[in-house]
């Protein structure tokens, strides 16, 4: 990269989740400690051992002609953004766009139904709905770190001066395809997602869409967008140990976190709050605590997970968490971790069932996924 690196501003964000039809509503629900996890009625779970998820009640009501539920959810969320600068580069980070059509497919028709719903098609259709150039964008898939990796790539483009604005957008819904898959892997909770709890027994899936607009300082100013939150650092790393189980020592996540801090030019001491991937599976949460101890030692500061409240929105979860982390930074308030009753030993003094105050200057948000991928973003609030 040549020249001076530019600041990357988190200029706007929007979301729709099972906890609220906007980012504000979702934040208020989180802060109140509510959880949207309840019995699944979208499809039958009668013959499997798991029965709960965080579903939006009337996804079909969002659909316009030619849309499926996933695309409708993404479009409805992204249209809540206040402004989209001309020339915005769109990165689509939805995880498994063909899961929804495959849910409806029987036998030989499956491929024909699934093919028109590849990631590229979502991006092109969303770009058209938002008035953006369908040729100006890309798709990124990195399992449950998809939108975090998308945000890292987008930040790199703005930092280098290649783009002035990048929109990272994703939606994932609770599909029968994904639900039965995670159920078969014994990764789902039998009752409720309890991140960092001694009795946690798995994740809950959740419907969710998020749109995060990154921009250069000049572009944000020109469009009257927020300029108080910077995406100051980012890092992506692979465990290189196993495809579904995280490295027990959290080595990949720790490397991603250190890379984010290094890029921001700060020491670990500045981090005041941590938005965890926090899926509520025994292995993931333990791995995250190991990575936290590796990077931050014994220092304890607020750690939270939103997945007990919203469920796990797969490819969209990183963007959702980045957006909600910006809200947390502005308020100096880490939301409660819904579902948490008794923190495991290493989480005590970090994760809490009540909101936790912090100074509101720096927050690290992270995600990890199958395939060993890890990604970390450092958000910084400017005075």
């Amino acid at each position: 990269m040549t020249g001076k690196a530019r600041a990357v501003i988190l200029a706007d964000a929007a979301a729709m989740t099972a906890l609220g039809a906007s980012l504000d509503e979702t934040w208020e629900g989180l802060l109140a400690g509510r959880s949207a996890v309840s019995s699944v009625t979208r499809f039958s779970t009668e013959h499997v051992a798991h029965h709960v998820a965080a579903c939006i009640a009337d996804l079909d009501g969002l659909r316009r002609a030619g849309e499926n539920r996933t695309l409708a959810l993404a479009r409805a969320a992204a249209l809540q953004l206040r402004a989209l600068p001309a020339g915005t580069f769109l990165i689509w980070t939805g995880l498994k766009g063909n899961a929804e059509p495959l849910d409806e497919a029987q036998g030989g028709a499956a491929q024909a139904l699934a093919e028109p719903w590849r990631a590229r098609h979502y991006r092109e259709r969303l770009a058209a709905a938002l008035g953006l150039d369908p040729e100006n964008g890309m798709e990124v898939s990195a399992a449950c770190a998809s939108s975090t990796v998308g945000l890292a790539l987008g930040a790199g483009m703005i930092r280098s001066g290649e783009r002035d604005s990048v929109l990272v957008c994703a939606a994932d819904i609770v599909s029968r395809f994904a639900f039965l898959g995670f159920s078969a892997l014994q990764a789902l909770s039998s009752s409720a997602c309890r991140p960092f709890d001694v009795a946690r027994d798995g994740l809950c899936l959740g419907d969710g869409a998020a749109a995060v607009l990154l921009a250069s300082e000049e572009t944000a100013k020109r469009h009257g967008l927020e300029r108080d939150i910077r995406l100051a650092g980012f890092g992506v790393a692979n465990d290189a140990t196993h495809i579904t189980g995280p490295a027990a020592d959290g080595r990949g996540l720790a490397r991603a976190m250190r890379a984010a801090l290094l890029r921001a030019g700060v020491l670990p001491d500045v981090v005041e709050a941590f938005c965890a991937h926090g899926t509520g599976t025994p292995y993931n949460d333990s791995m995250e605590l190991s990575a936290l101890e590796d990077v931050f030692g014994a220092r304890r500061f607020p750690v939270f997970s939103i997945k007990g409240a919203l469920g796990h929105a797969l490819g969209a979860t990183g963007a959702l968490e980045a957006a909600l982390s910006a809200w947390a930074l502005r308020r100096g308030l880490a939301p409660p971790t819904a579902g948490l009753l008794t923190p495991e030993t290493r989480a005590a003094g970090r994760a809490a069932a009540a909101p936790q105050r912090f100074a509101g200057r720096n927050l690290l948000t992270v995600n990890s996924g199958f395939g060993g991928v890890n990604a970390a973003l450092l958000l910084e609030r400017c005075a």
Partner: protein, 231 residues
Amino acid sequence: MSGGAVVSGGGFVTAGGHGRLGEGRPLLFPPGAPLLPRKGEIFAVPPARYGRFDDYTRLGCAAVALALRDAGLEGGAAAMNAGVVCASGRECLATDLAFQASTLAEDGRLASPNLFTYTLPTIVLGECAVAFGLTGPTFCTGEDGRMGMTALLAALRLLEGGEAGAMLAGWIESVPAAGADSPLGALFVVVEPAPRPGARVFWKLRRQGDAVLLENGARLRSLPRLFAARE
């Protein structure tokens, strides 16, 4: 915005067989399923889970192994913070369909956990990361018809940003388009920010916005072009 990089190796698997950049074998796409090489031909130590891989993963892993061997990095990628980016159109659709079929019996009770794992398009990259010690960024990009160029562009951006010491960039397609005769196979190249002592340099590349330029200033229009003879 622009940046330079060198291609230090490459490998491919198609219905015409397999090969490496350094061997000079032509990359052809005859009709039919890719001819996967035997494990012993491509892996010094085969991946532990190779027997469980789906075709998409075997194909990608074989091409990555050939590319790393070509670059002299078969056992040395771990020290370089190397990553891998892959473009694919239909990704692991055959496995998606097989998993979906497994969910139809007994209302989902017999859904296959092993098949489900391989319905993620990035699992192939995870298997490569485990097998070859790739600790850098790993993700998939959408395919735009230029057979891996979206992955190469992403890889070059990561190198320019200092986010990896080397990147593999490639393309995998294991499922033909519905009702169409489309090329199948996998190919990967190793790109590095600068020549490595003792390593060959097959191509020098330069990124200019969304274009990748060859040394002579010509625009690279698809990844397979790197396997063709220099003009």
